[in-house]
């Protein structure tokens, strides 16, 4: 493990594909989007449709968003300390839990998409926001991340953490569930950062390696673009972090 204290990342902007191969999915029809498009190629879904579907003002993204008073009183106070630990670990990332009872048939994915994008008080930090939305009507939970954080989220591990939260909520163990999830988040973000650093450094080493003269482009800007295009795509073999570390690391983090 490299020295993880006070690490400053490179000012350079990387391609999202340098860190993730997770597909982009339409919140409405769940079809994969090959390219970032303004509307879904399959169902023409976009944010404006969502806005029509939810014709009210979205609440600001606080740690706990509970307009229907579904959560026990004082829950925010009980998870605040764990949340602060997450924030201390990764100050870029903010987190919100929203629990609602949507009308039957309303898609939770669309609601999360709408809330993340239209909640007031948005600035650049919103792209690092991690939003967990729970619909107690349909009994479903979803995790939405901003564009900046999206490339570092490994769906399978995060889904496991979300399932644990769902299990606790089903047992009305709100405090345990939310605290446990926050611990998971801390561990998963650390893993994600380690993976990202590893890939970034590997990318740098490749870039610093001598390029054959025949391949050298003439224009500097073009060189950077080609480097971006040639940036290593992550594979499961390259991932230095074990896939199943979530639970064990959560336990160790809890004890620490």
């Amino acid at each position: 493990m490299s020295d993880a204290t006070n690490t400053k990342s490179s000012p350079r902007k990387y391609s999202a594909r340098a860190f993730t191969r997770a597909p982009m999915v339409c919140p409405h029809c769940q079809s994969k989007l090959e390219q970032p498009e303004d509307t879904c190629g399959h169902c023409d879904f976009d944010l404006s449709q969502c806005t029509k579907a939810f014709p009210f003002v979205a609440p600001p993204l606080a740690l706990i968003i509970d307009p229907a008073q579904l959560l026990p009183e004082g829950i925010e106070k009980e998870i605040r300390q764990t949340y602060q630990k997450v924030r201390k670990r990764a100050r870029q990332v903010e987190l919100s839990f929203c629990f609602v009872c949507l009308q039957a048939g309303v898609s939770i994915e669309e609601f999360a998409f709408w809330l993340h994008n239209t909640a007031p008080g948005a600035d650049k930090a919103r792209a690092w926001h991690l939003l967990v939305v729970g619909d107690l009507t349909s009994g479903r939970l979803t995790l939405t991340t901003g564009y900046a954080l999206e490339p570092f989220i490994k769906p399978e591990t995060w889904e496991a953490a979300l399932q644990e939260l769902a299990a606790c909520i089903a047992d009305d163990q709100w405090k345990e569930g939310l605290n446990g999830f926050l611990v998971d988040v801390r561990v998963l973000l650390t893993d994600a950062w380690q993976t990202a650093e590893w890939r970034r450094q590997k990318n740098h080493r490749r870039r610093e390696a001598p390029i054959p003269s025949s391949d050298q482009p003439k224009n500097g800007d073009k060189a950077q673009e080609s480097a971006e295009k040639e940036s290593p795509e992550p594979t499961d073999e390259e991932d230095p972090v074990s896939k199943d570390r979530g639970r064990t690391q959560r336990e160790s983090a809890t004890s620490s």
Partner: protein, 249 residues
């Protein structure tokens, strides 16, 4: 044969007659036997006080005897004093100062008792000799008798104290010698335990510092080009959904 027997009987009878000639008075209640008040009341009371203190505090029975019954024939003053001491002594260490007034004998001092065996052979004799040397410097016989009693008492008190002190020292030394190896062993164990504890604490502190340094904080993810889509300015929507498990009733 008969003559010999008669001679032996006559000798034995003489010895018996000599033995019967020593008539012992009743022992004194205090330390001084002076029926005729030869010493004088003041001197006698001084002697009673001092010698009584020696006896009470140090278990040394110093008796001053003014013998007015005459010296039995063929008996020396020392022998008489010894017999007096052996007969009257109430403590395991005793000294008798004996004087026969109106005689040509000088006052005599003898010591005895079972405690004398505890001293080295010549030590009590030397002590008594020095007491006699000092006591006999007095001018008058009465003063000499008084001084002998006091000096002898002081000498034997000193002797006894010194012996006890030496005994204690010897015991302490012996105890030290006996407990020495065990004590040193215990001390070594104690030191080893302390050293181990300190080492463990040091290791713990180092481990804590190391873990603290290793614990990542303020992680900065690299900036990426955002994959803006579907008109969303900040997010492209959720990537996965999980269902709440059915409630266990």
């Amino acid at each position: 044969m008969m003559m010999r027997l008669l001679l032996m009987l006559s000798l034995l009878a003489h010895t018996l007659a000599v033995g019967q000639a020593i008539e012992f008075p009743y022992p004194p209640t205090g330390q001084v036997l002076d029926a005729g008040s030869w010493l004088g009341d003041e001197r006698r009371s001084r002697l009673e006080g001092a010698l009584g203190r020696y006896r009470k505090s140090y278990q040394i029975d110093v008796m001053v005897v003014v013998w007015e019954r005459g010296l039995p024939p063929e008996t020396s003053l020392e022998e008489l004093a010894e017999r007096v001491g052996e007969t009257w002594a109430r403590e395991p260490l005793w000294v008798v100062i004996l004087h026969i007034p109106d005689s040509l004998h000088r006052p005599t001092a003898v010591y005895g008792g079972s405690d004398t065996k505890k001293f080295q052979e010549e030590v009590p004799a030397v002590a008594l000799h020095s007491a006699v040397l000092r006591g006999m410097k007095e001018r008058t016989t009465r003063a000499q008798v008084e001084a002998l009693g006091l000096e002898a008492g002081e000498e034997f008190v000193f002797l006894k104290n010194r012996r006890e002190f030496e005994h204690k020292e010897h015991l302490a030394h012996q105890q030290q010698q006996l407990q020495g190896p065990e004590g040193r062993h215990q001390s070594m164990i104690f030191r080893a335990v302390i050293a181990t504890l300190l080492a463990l604490v040091a290791v713990g502190v180092v481990a804590l510092l190391y873990l603290r340094r290793r614990r990542p904080s303020d992680l900065q993810f690299p900036e990426t080009r955002w994959r803006r889509r579907l008109g969303g300015k900040w997010s492209g929507g959720g990537q996965f959904v999980v269902a709440l498990p059915p409630k266990i009733s």
